[in-house]
């Protein structure tokens, strides 16, 4: 039975989206209650799927009059509670906007709609000998709209950088339906005085709806060597990381799995013969064959010199894929170990790696919560995963307390809350740790400029962003 209020909303939405879809029944909405974070569920009042960018702009034009929150959503793989209707309202699913509009290899750019899948773009670029570097683990599913909204990163960001390093332009639709291009293939300001795309990237759907992007491309590296080294403890692992980040080979990726992560992989179908009880580094160097081949032994020596008795390396694609499959599937494997988990995304100066990881283990062990660390060590981008059961009273509170202590220490050592997942409604409570009175005022001025009533994705990024109709 659909309530009269919902029926009226459905009627209004159908008028705004004559060609798209409007989902209103409980069964249809069930899949939109959560994102990759999983345990925080907020059912929207409705979901709309615009047929194309024009219809999305038309919807935005009428959205203000609906008087309900508007939440943009790509594939919903966010790990911060970003694309969920925390204050109810309408979720706008951009799955129909999936055209790759142009690939310009001479200009090293491409133009894509926001619903294009990341790995679909990669597949389309490959025949041209170019690639788009950001590579979050959700690549097979996630969309570029979500990537831009959360400034996604990935395993190869140590050398290649994150999404904001590659966005040349953003087409954004404001809540009044006006459509603006911030930048474009050239990646500048366009005819604007200010470089507005800087605020759009990483804005987590709180400022505008995105319809298309212009993205910078790079030539594909010709040769890749993948290294695997194991270490007995945190200190020796940290020493290896410090030596690698300063090395002239500029590794593309420096990833770490802790013994619990290794055990998890080895007890799964992704098992690839990793020795138990060890910290594992997964390192990759790439480039022209002549150059990268000359660097192999030097990188192996760094790994050995730091204390690894077990350095393996290969240029075989099959071995590389197996190792990366194990690394990238680890998030999914966590779901097999525990009904709920929280993954944090703090970034710290790398000299504090061992200390902060030890804090994670100590706090989690003391609280009886399992913690697994699988993360981007080269960037100092931690991903401690806290496994718990949200149905057990008190477990979530324990995880929140550990997270609070972790975040306090992260800020004390000079780090930040999020490197690539975004804040969403998962980390918004920690924002006062980061921003002082003046910088907080600046932060809050951004949504005040573009979305003053907080109708776009309320309660995200800053938890005092309430929408009042």
């Amino acid at each position: 039975m659909i309530s009269p209020v919902k029926s009226s909303l459905e009627h209004q939405l159908k008028a705004l989206l004559p060609r798209g879809r409007v989902l209103i029944s409980a069964a249809q909405l069930a899949g939109y209650g959560a994102d990759g974070l999983g345990y925080k569920n907020h059912l929207p009042d409705a979901v709309v799927i615009p047929a194309d960018a024009e219809e999305l702009a038309g919807f935005m034009c009428g959205a203000k009059a609906l008087g309900v929150p508007v939440v943009m959503r790509g594939a919903g793989t966010s790990l911060s509670g970003g694309p969920v209707a925390a204050q109810g309202g309408v979720v706008v699913h951009t799955s129909a906007l999936k055209k790759i509009l142009e690939i310009n290899t001479e200009g090293f750019w491409c133009e894509v709609e926001c619903g294009v899948g990341l790995n679909d773009l990669d597949a389309a670029l490959k025949p041209y000998g170019v690639f788009y570097p950001p590579d979050p683990s959700s690549g097979p599913v996630c969309t570029l709209g979500g990537n831009v909204a959360s400034n996604a990163g990935g395993a190869h960001c140590f050398r290649y950088g994150v999404t904001s390093n590659y966005v040349l332009g953003v087409e954004a639709v404001m809540l009044d339906g006006s459509v603006h291009c911030f930048g474009g293939p050239a990646g500048g300001r366009g005819s604007w005085r200010e470089d507005w795309k800087r605020f759009m990237i990483g804005s987590e759907g709180t400022l505008a709806a995105f319809t298309r992007f212009w993205l910078r491309l790079l030539p594909l590296p010709e040769k890749v060597w993948t290294f695997r080294a194991t270490y007995p403890d945190l200190k020796t692992t940290e020493a290896a990381i410090h030596a690698l980040v300063a090395h002239s080979s500029y590794p593309a990726a420096i990833e770490m799995l802790d013994p619990r992560g290794v055990a998890m992989v080895e007890s799964s179908q992704m098992a690839c013969g990793l020795p138990g009880g060890s910290f594992m580094l997964l390192v990759e160097i790439d480039g022209p064959e002549a150059l990268v081949n000359a660097r192999v032994e030097a990188v192996a020596e760094i790994l050995r010199h730091a204390g690894s008795q077990d350095v393996m390396f290969s240029d075989q694609d099959e071995i590389r894929k197996k190792l990366w499959k194990a690394r990238k599937a680890s998030g999914g494997l966590l779901g097999q170990l525990s009904p709920s988990y929280v993954v944090q995304d703090a970034v710290i100066p790398k000299r504090a790696l061992a200390e902060v990881l030890q804090l994670v283990y100590d706090e989690a062990d003391a609280a009886g919560i399992r913690a697994v660390n699988v993360f981007h060590a080269g960037d100092g981008n931690l991903h401690p995963n806290f496994l718990f059961d949200s149905r057990v009273p008190g477990e979530l509170e324990k995880v929140e307390l550990i997270s609070k202590r972790l975040m306090q220490r992260v800020i004390e050592v000079g780090g930040t809350l999020s490197g690539e997942h975004g804040i969403g409604n998962d980390k918004s409570a920690y924002m006062p740790l980061v921003f002082g009175p003046d910088s907080m005022r600046l932060q809050l001025a951004v949504p005040a400029a573009f979305n003053p009533a907080h109708q776009m994705n309320p309660l995200k990024v800053f938890d005092n962003r309430h929408f009042i109709a």
């Binding site: 002239s248 100066p349 800020i411 409570a429 600046l442």
Partner: protein, 328 residues
């Protein structure tokens, strides 16, 4: 749920060098010599320098990219944080000291090249890179078609990631391609072999100067931002009107140097007006430190007003003091 009370003070950066992370915080008035003196002993470098003598603040006000942006990206990818003096005189922390962040809205990239419209930088946190010990400059000469083929060969392969810079230079009616190489000495022959290969394949003449001192080109008078494939044709088109142009090819950036003179600002303005429609159509722009910024359009005026209200706010706080020096 707000588990933390608001902070009373900004977490301002204090000058530091973190040789593990390769980050350096120093005043915006610092020069290249100041940077070198702090980082050289740690075999680190900040490759995005346009001028040896000018303060970093002026370099960043003059351009968004430097030649080494080919490899390392624009300034905004290599400056991680700032202490920023607001028009009220108070100082706010902008950005971080770590290489990745998606914590809040990106004021760092918004403010970095905003001139003095919203305040001014006090300190920068720079991202440093390993100093590999060997630098060489390669210059390719040849016909325009040969140089076009040369650039294409340099950039459309996996080697593109490893050139510090690939610049298309026009000066006195002569064009050339300049490539900057920075590597460990043992790898120098591998780079030289590839450069030879490019010269042979594209019928260009190669001059390679090993252990070359990196002499920055100086601050450009006018900067154009377009797409990479438009850099060369634009440089050739504008050559008669400039003394020298340096096309940062992969970045789609053209640095134009004009002859000095009382009418320089007028000439820069005329050049900018000539190319602006084409640049804007591609989402590009122009910028000159000799000219005021363009006026805001109607749409952005309202957004700017909201930002300015926050920026100019003079809510009274206890006297702002820098936190005690922190050993990283």
């Amino acid at each position: 749920m707000n588990v933390f009370p608001p902070m009373e003070n900004e977490r301002l950066f204090v000058p530091f060098l973190d040789e593990v992370d390769g980050t350096l915080c120093l005043p915006a008035s610092a020069t290249a010599a100041d940077i070198h003196s702090q980082v050289r002993a740690h075999r680190l470098r900040f490759p995005l320098l346009l001028d040896e003598a000018k303060p970093l603040r002026e370099q960043i006000a003059a351009a968004t990219h430097a030649p080494a942006s080919c490899r390392f990206g624009p300034y905004c990818d290599n400056i991680l944080g700032m202490n920023w003096r607001l028009p009220s005189g108070r100082i706010a922390r902008i950005g971080e000291r770590v290489v990745k962040t998606t914590t809040g809205y990106d004021w760092l990239r918004f403010l970095l090249h905003s001139g003095s419209r919203f305040g001014e930088p006090v300190d920068y946190v720079l991202r440093l890179r390993p100093d590999c010990g060997f630098t060489a400059i390669a210059v390719f000469d040849g016909s325009p078609n040969a140089l076009q083929a040369c650039v294409s060969k340099l950039l459309h392969s996996g080697w593109m990631h490893w050139w510090d810079a690939v610049d298309f230079i026009t000066e006195g009616g002569i064009s050339s391609v300049r490539v900057t190489i920075h590597c460990v000495p043992e790898e120098a022959p591998i780079f030289a072999q590839q450069l030879d290969h490019v010269a042979t394949a594209t019928s260009t003449q190669l001059t390679l100067q090993n252990h070359a001192p990196t002499a920055p080109d100086g601050l450009p008078d006018l900067v154009l931002k377009t797409t990479p494939d438009r850099v060369m044709s634009l440089a050739i088109e504008l050559a008669p009107e400039v003394v020298r142009s340096i096309g940062l090819y992969y970045n789609g950036v053209l640095h134009l140097h004009l002859s000095p003179g009382e009418d320089r600002a007028e000439r820069i303005h005329a050049l900018a007006q000539k190319v602006a429609p084409e640049l804007h159509a591609l989402g590009g722009d122009w910028h000159s430190h000799w000219l005021p910024s363009i006026p805001p359009n109607l749409t952005e005026s309202a957004w700017i007003q909201t930002l300015e209200e926050a920026i100019h706010s003079t809510i009274a706080f206890a006297s702002l003091q820098l936190p005690a020096a922190r050993v990283p």
